[in-house]
Amino acid sequence: MSDEKVMSGRSLSEMSEKVDEVVDDSTIARLNHHLTGHSDLDCDCDCAEED
């Protein structure tokens, strides 16, 4: 499933029906704008993550 398809409401129902797709954090982030799906997690910790 392409990134663009995941964005659409129709694809949401498709995704719930389909049995053979891969879901990762970026999929969830695109569906839920409150979540970032970022790889840089150090923003507010005491130590800084490597680039």
């Binding site: 995704m15 797709e21 879901v23 990762d24 999929t27 970022h38 790889s39 997690l41 680039d51």
Partner: protein
């Protein structure tokens, strides 16, 4: 000092002597989850033909499944998600490390004093329970602040580093808010093309009326240390009034509520000890019910934990993360809002942190140190450039492996879990074992918790996707 080379000389048998590779396991219903310990790129949820294909590939041998070429939709999806190595197109699997440095981070000790005296504090030579009348004595001067600003901006420009993050710390940085405000004002005005952001690590006892304008004016993100819930927090974090200990929970909780009511969402830092481990679940529920994220870090003392401490922390963290997988609100980000130590499942790491590469600490007198736990001397923004300090760190034995973590060869690097935990906090390991090229003192905790944490993350993802598709 003689340092044992093998993991089994330090903490029993290695956690996972298996070949580093892809793991796939059932979750619920017809869902599976997969994670690649060789090339971490996040947890993946699978089902249907793709799950069946990966299960078959993994059953054929250990490590990372390999094929010559992608000929099916299933193989293409697995390769795209880095769960399958395709010999004809290896770039799909290994994107390599980005050699362009994007950001630099500074832990800035604006004051070497604190109104608390937490028993585990790792800041070298910190003046604790300081007299408020002596704040200036322990604070960074305006002259030193200017030297730091000039040095940092020159470094970023010369090395074409676009982003600089300043983390105000101490001691307790909010004891000297005027200096922080002045620093932000001067830095922001001088930054030019360098994108500067700010953060602060506080014990949460600040005056909200005084701190809020600074947070707002400079977009300064604030992290607050909370070590337990109510009484367990108060046992570690307290003020001294006369001869009496006055716990800080009520004040900190009140300040957090004030910040939330004024549109500011702090991030919480929880140092896990044997004194507060049993309250971690209560704390987590409280934080998440307020939409607050946190990071949990095992305590970093200059000695190895006892077996009893390891057992207790392991029991409490295993229970906590298992519960979070099942109950943590789906509106929150599992890895950010329930972070553990320096783990990041999203990418392959060389080291737990960027110390000596894209991260240094600066003392209140301008000394440039490998990190906030270090008391090394030798470089100062008043007399050296940051480039000189970083070059020096590569040559000094105690920091050479921090600056060049790819040179590590110890037993730790053979562990299946190495590319997630990467040996834990290197400065902590140095402080206990004298080198960062051996397993962390918390190795047994890390190795046992990691599969539990990954499964919990998968459980949370499944609940998220179910909620979003409802």
């Amino acid at each position: 000092m003689i340092v044992p080379k093998r993991i089994d000389k330090i903490c029993g048998v290695p956690f996972s002597p298996e070949t580093r590779g892809v793991r796939v396991a059932p979750l619920r219903g017809n869902h599976y989850y997969a994670f690649n310990y060789d090339q971490p790129s996040g947890v993946k949820l699978l089902r249907g033909s793709i799950a069946r294909r990966l299960l078959r590939l993994v059953a054929e041998g250990s490590g990372v499944p390999q094929i010559t070429a992608c000929r099916t939709r299933e193989d293409l999806a697995l390769a795209k998600h880095r769960l399958l190595f395709v010999k004809e197109d290896p770039s799909l699997y290994n994107p390599g490390f980005n050699s362009n440095q994007k950001s630099f981070h500074i832990w800035l000790h604006v004051i070497n004093g604190c109104n608390f005296r937490c028993f585990y504090c790792y800041i070298p030579h910190l003046q604790s329970h300081i007299d408020p009348a002596l704040i200036n004595k322990y604070s960074m001067s305006e002259e030193t602040a200017r030297a730091v600003i000039d040095g940092l901006l020159a470094f970023c420009r010369q090395n074409r580093i676009p982003r600089l993050h300043i983390k105000f710390a101490g001691g307790e940085p909010s004891l000297n808010l005027p200096l922080i405000e002045s620093f932000c004002k001067t830095m922001t005005a001088a930054a030019g093309d360098t994108q500067v952001s700010y953060g602060m690590i506080s014990n949460g006892t600040f005056s909200t009326e005084k701190i809020a304008p600074i947070l707002t004016a400079y977009g300064l993100r604030i992290s607050i240390s909370i070590d337990g819930f109510e009484t367990t927090h108060d046992r570690t974090r307290f003020l001294i009034s006369g001869n009496r200990r006055v716990g800080s929970w009520a004040k900190v909780r009140g300040n957090i509520h004030w910040l939330l009511a004024n549109g500011i969402r702090p991030y919480l830092l929880f140092t896990l000890t044997r004194n507060n481990a049993s309250s971690a679940e209560t704390f987590a529920s409280w934080a998440h019910s307020h939409g607050l994220g946190f990071r949990i870090s095992p305590i970093r003392l200059r000695r190895a934990p006892t077996e009893q401490e390891l057992d207790l922390l392991l029991r409490c963290t295993s229970s906590l993360y298992t519960r979070l997988g099942k109950e943590m609100p789906t509106s929150l980000d599992f890895e950010r809002d329930a972070r553990f130590a320096e783990w990041n499942l999203q990418k392959r790491k060389l080291a737990a942190c960027g110390s000596c590469r894209n991260y240094v600490a600066v003392s209140e007198i301008g000394e440039i140190r490998s990190c906030q736990m270090s008391d090394q001397q030798g470089y100062n923004f008043r007399t050296h450039t940051l480039d000189q300090a970083l070059q020096g760190f590569r040559q000094v034995p105690t920091t050479a492996l921090l600056a060049q973590p790819h040179l590590k060869t110890g037993a730790c690097t053979e562990c299946e879990y190495y590319r997630v935990c990467v040996g834990g906090c290197p400065q902590h390991t140095i402080s206990v074992h004298g080198t960062s090229d051996v397993p962390s003192p918390w190795c047994r905790l890390y190795g046992t918790l990691m599969p539990i944490y990954i499964k919990a993350k998968a459980e949370h993802m499944l609940r998220q996707i179910s909620a979003l598709c409802r």
